[in-house]
Symmetry: C2
Subunit: 305 residues, 2 copies
């Protein structure tokens, strides 16, 4: 018999699920596109269908012990399974996820913020395994963050900690969906890269286009990518001075541009942060890629985080 | 019999000492000006003389158990009593303080960063007593910081954590002594207030002059003080999003301008940080004032931090 949890990672683009055992083994998977303006009812129907797909390919003697659900919402510690505010999936704001799942999937539900889940996943099985103080940066549609402090996920007093994506790097900079201006999310997310590309007068539409143009030697595209690294370095220098961590892990889709951003990040950090914490910190790339969040919330659902 | 530690707080302007018991009682005190370009030998002579003054007014059956020494250096956890780099007291860089004290004062020496000591002091006996997750901001000649995480002082992997004074709030802003540009220290320290005053064309020289002019209704001085609060709010919004703390304590000499800066801090935080952590966090003023550092390092030297 194997005991598994159903681990879900709900993103703005995709919803992924996997059945994960307590050793981190992935025994089955399912994946779907996140419907536009997904309603709570649609989310439950989709989750139940995907759970069915995951379970159908598990051995007959498998036992499901819990559901772990990572989403782009702060994981309020006393929420009782209610999602908070999801800036990128507002149709789910305040949804009582645990109650809604319960009639279909009779398991305890553990909620986790997706970026915190990614931090936990990398710390459990990936790049930051064995390190006690880690800043995890998820560069995707937005910029998320998760903290490992003294070996454990740090969620803050209400569970909203880790929102490094809204650290200000330009006081009067680009307006951000959070209501502030000049957040790092406006300079280092895939969305921001697309915008900065268009501002530079490109025909390129996506972050990937701009990355490829930069790789191909286009100087303007190269400058956009270098600016991403520079702003990340400004933000990380402050966090490195503040937290003196052993490692910063860069994950999320934009981590694919690692080769173009790690140099500018390193340069900026060395110019701005104190030498002792800079010499200590390792800047590392995700090892778990798209599975970081699923494995992290599986770790939480197994009671290991 | 009372057991006390000799707690020292070495600053750029003054050196203070007190004999402190494990309940936080201050049984005697001594204070001197920090000599300009103080040498290691001078520091030891001064410390020994002040220890003599402190001890002479203690009851005869007092027992000294340790020396706690707070200084504006990162408290490297494995330093063995060696000071690291002191940007504002560079003549003491790398001084082996514990060894130098030992021949005169035969007690264990505990080193602490002064801003971390202030955070510990306020958490032990002051404004943040009873709170588990606290950001302590010391606004003095520079800007220092100390973190309480999950009820304990957080020093990072090497003991250099808490240096929030060098979080960047203007990427191309005023050059900072740390080698970076636009650090909050360049916009919210007493030194910075003096500079911003002079930049505004004042004859006022000191932060206190500018504070008094602002209180007296001078609009340009008022604008300088409001800008201090605004930049602190920008920096704190990022830390509040990142750490979701229960409290931010403002201490140091510039805390005397509390009435002029707390409004702009609050406004900026509410505009920039997420509502849940903003609604949670209390912005509080130091209760221990100049004694925060001494009491904090006494707490450490008693083995209580």
């Amino acid at each position: 018999m194997i005991e598994v949890v159903l681990a879900v990672d709900l993103g703005g683009t995709n919803i992924r699920m996997a059945a994960v055992s307590a050793d981190g083994g992935i025994h089955s998977r399912s994946r779907a596109e996140t419907p536009t303006n997904v309603s709570p009812t649609e989310l439950i129907e989709l989750t139940v269908r995907m759970a069915g797909e995951c379970c159908s390919s598990l051995p007959d003697d498998s036992k499901i012990t819990a559901v772990g659900f990572a989403s782009p919402a702060p994981a309020a510690l006393d929420s009782g399974g209610v999602l908070g505010k999801l800036p990128n999936l507002p149709t789910l704001n305040g949804m009582d996820l645990a109650a809604a799942l319960r009639s279909h999937l009779p398991y305890p539900v553990v909620l986790e913020n997706d970026a915190t889940a990614a931090a936990i996943g990398e710390h459990w099985l990936g790049a930051s395994k064995g390190f006690s103080n880690v800043i995890h940066v998820t560069l995707g549609t937005g910029v998320g963050g998760g903290l490992i402090i003294n070996g454990n996920a740090y969620r803050g007093v209400d569970g909203t900690a880790g929102e490094i994506g809204h650290i200000c790097v330009e006081p009067e900079g680009h307006p951000c969906g959070c209501g502030s201006r000049g957040c790092i999310e406006q300079y280092a997310s895939a969305t921001a890269v697309g915008r900065m590309g268009r501002e530079s007068g490109f025909f390129y539409e996506t972050a990937l286009d701009i990355y490829n143009a930069a790789k191909g030697g286009d100087p303007a595209a190269g400058s956009v990518m270098a600016n991403v690294g520079r702003y990340l370095g400004i933000m990380l220098a402050g966090l490195i001075n503040t937290l003196n961590p052993e490692m910063v892990v860069i994950g999320g889709g934009m981590a694919a541009s690692w080769d173009l951003i790690v140099g500018p990040i390193d340069t900026e950090i060395r110019q701005r942060a104190f030498s002792e914490p800079v010499n200590r910190v390792k800047i590392a790339r995700t090892l778990l890629h798209d599975d970081a969040g699923i494995l992290g919330v599986a770790c939480s659902a197994h009671g290991l985080a």
